[in-house]
Subunit: 540 residues, 2 copies
Amino acid sequence: MWSTMQDVPLTITSILRFGTGTFGTREVVTWTADGPRRRTFAEVGERAARLANALRALGVDGDQRVGTFMWNNAEHLEAYLAIPSMGAVLHTLNIRLSADQLAYIAGHAEDRVVLVDASLVPLLATVLPDMETVRHVVVVGDADTAPLEGAGKDLHSYEDLLAAASPDFDWPELDERQAAAMCYTSGTTGNPKGVAYSHRSSYLHSMSAATGNAFGLSASDRVMPVVPMFHANAWGLPYAALLAGASLVMPDRFLQAAPLVELIETERPTVAGAVPTIWADLLRHVREHGGDLSSLRLVPCGGSAVPESLLRGFDELGVRIVQAWGMTETSPVATVAHPPVGVTGDEAVRYRISQGRVLAGLEVRIVGDGDRVIPNDGTSVGEVEIRGPWITGAYVKAEDAGRFHDGWLRTGDVGTLDPDGYLVLTDRAKDVIKSGGEWISSVELENRLMAHPDVVEAAVVGVPDDRWQERPLASVVLREGATTTAADLRGFLGEHVPHWQLPERWTFIGEVPKTSVGKFDKKVLRRRYADGALPVEHLD
Amino acid sequence: MWSTMQDVPLTITSILRFGTGTFGTREVVTWTADGPRRRTFAEVGERAARLANALRALGVDGDQRVGTFMWNNAEHLEAYLAIPSMGAVLHTLNIRLSADQLAYIAGHAEDRVVLVDASLVPLLATVLPDMETVRHVVVVGDADTAPLEGAGKDLHSYEDLLAAASPDFDWPELDERQAAAMCYTSGTTGNPKGVAYSHRSSYLHSMSAATGNAFGLSASDRVMPVVPMFHANAWGLPYAALLAGASLVMPDRFLQAAPLVELIETERPTVAGAVPTIWADLLRHVREHGGDLSSLRLVPCGGSAVPESLLRGFDELGVRIVQAWGMTETSPVATVAHPPVGVTGDEAVRYRISQGRVLAGLEVRIVGDGDRVIPNDGTSVGEVEIRGPWITGAYVKAEDAGRFHDGWLRTGDVGTLDPDGYLVLTDRAKDVIKSGGEWISSVELENRLMAHPDVVEAAVVGVPDDRWQERPLASVVLREGATTTAADLRGFLGEHVPHWQLPERWTFIGEVPKTSVGKFDKKVLRRRYADGALPVEHLD
């Protein structure tokens, strides 16, 4: 028996219509060197229609990809709305990727047009000649476009295109499963992999962000996405704000603590999302120079684990940080760490530094050796798998069955799930050490070691072992002049860590090798160990 | 280009899994003559699986319909979860319909099984023999089932069936567009008409209820649906509570002010939904006898217009009423009346007594004569039409094209929409008076007339007029001994109402005829006027 309900698709077009119609008086504020500039949602809606007409006139048709190389600003919001709603696919290019990676992903996505902020023209110029599928570059704002010339692309001014275009666009009826936007993961191995969000997934993700167990967004909010719009749709905050009728406060390229504090004081956002590094800078700045953050009712924080000290530091300012976890493949918000009702103080902090509970609509499970689903008992450790309507089930034009398991995404994160649904991540799957059927968290050993006063850095990797399959190797950087021994450190670790987890293999090195984004490069340590290039001390 | 996202359907099964899994420690509290009884969501989940097995064993297969004839309690919640999740269709029978209507809708829906509360056995017994498609009756609780015997149905005990059934059920994969639940409108003309909600529509409606612009439900809430679960899914609150991880507080049949106050004081719900009559009784009771309603953070109120005095009365108690508007055909929540951000006091009340703003996902428009869409200017009056994924587009097994217009539902309500999206209803479409191309609200004239100290009741209907097509006829009941004349009343009206809207035709009657649910029966007045049965006085 079929229902009698209307068959209305869940689309970005619907978010566009709703946000710029019912909430047309809301505004998007963009920070500039001269202070804020403002535009109402109604104006954004009209300009999105002009942009769609302009892109159509440049030949963008069907589901062609349009790249953006932009900061967080009103024009990027216009692109977020116009490109998917016209049936094309928004491809947010991550300006922080290497030139090689950028050329690769623009080519892989077959971007036809790139919109670029004036301030990013010099950076785009270095890679544009290698973006072979790109025909048109549209420059937002006033820029010297000389560096772009010679790349063989047609250059346009965003404002000129909009001024010449009609303010009415006949938005097509779209299938909600059609691609709306693309993002590439900055994979540490191999080429970046593309995820294509659907209209449906983006819509549901936005709706979810507005629910009470996520960020409870409403028309009373002013939402400030500090997280870049080229990172997994700025955590979905721009679309969610339109859907909630919440005004947007955009920092553009002013991501340092001083301008952010000024922006918060001036525009009084109620919700602001960014990675821990940004908030740590801001906290330091406010402690040194003062600053009024009192407008913020909730500060979603994610991208890497939120340190307890950061959370407590903001608590002291009366500003509530809430940890959220996810990845490009999960749209990205998958879990949010609100404490259970009635739990307060230190007990609440224990829940708040977990990854939190999964949002309604999604399911998580923990999978152990042999792809066996293991209990949600808060102690059994395994890889986290996730499933739901805003989770990716494939990569664009890529065979990568290894990342999927019976329709679930293997997240590559390792952790536990407790009976109340709280997820705690303990390691990346590729870094966990599998010793005799039990799993040892490299991250936990590293954190314990780095708590020793003589240890500057410590990296722990799994190395082959005849008896246990794998055992931990601890690579330690001591502070200058320290005389601490491996046995000392093993004793120190033994105060907190079960005996069977203690490393037998130790090496003292001058520096832990790092990747281009500053993370420990454990591949290099494993290779050096395999090559016998590390001086290893064995303890019993 | 198709997206790479997982194709996971939006189903009641997903709400069941999530609510009884991640939030398995939440509880449903059911009020009884002996105080509260409690069950965890995990227990509800297990019992829902047992119920599905039991119904399967009774022969319920495919998309067969299972009726419920029940109050708000834990067992009704189990039926809400089990029946749609097993692929069958939940049909909530409105216990307040007449026996004829009940027999009609059970037959029209082809209900195979009916679950009935022990306290409702005598009422069901009066109609059961006429429910021809029903094979099985399952009695919840201890009851004398003698009145049900002789109807030729197999009788069962709910608890016996559950005890004998397996606690595991292999929930099928369902299409989200499949019917999940049915509700019949108690239409004032003709037979009741059936609406079949889909899994998708119920899911999205629940998610919407949890967003900040609706009720912002979260795991911190305790939700008390006073509105019956046989009225449009109790406004979707039971499903929304599961999805939000909010505990449920169920009043069962104890809907009088005294037990409701005791329930609120004992179980401390944070959100409670009911019609204005219930809240007015409660307010009166608390004013006379005292009572602690301080646990309530939000009181959704709808079903009929919320009087300003009620809203202000609750404000004085520190409890915030929020008006919501919808109908069976809209799942039902369509608009919610939160005031604009920053607006407070009397100015806020003006918005709070409107029907509010439409929820994200839905669209409303105002349509005038000739099905022309008219401006959202806050003054142009027309019929309200609505569209969206939880709005019905047809009736079950019924041709009723007149209620639909280009894919939109004609709500039968008349009103205005302002540029900020606030909807104000002024009349029912069938009662509005169309005078020379302009519309006159019968409700506004009635309210103005009833504000006169000598007027007990007043009903205004449109009657044929040679020049203006229609003109208002005012039917007035004066208080005993009053000597007020039609001219006096016309003068009184003229202080507030434009001259062209003032009735020329007046009649004084002993009582306004009423329908079975106590509403003015305007059909009767129109017929009496047409028959010349009313003594009408004409003024110029």
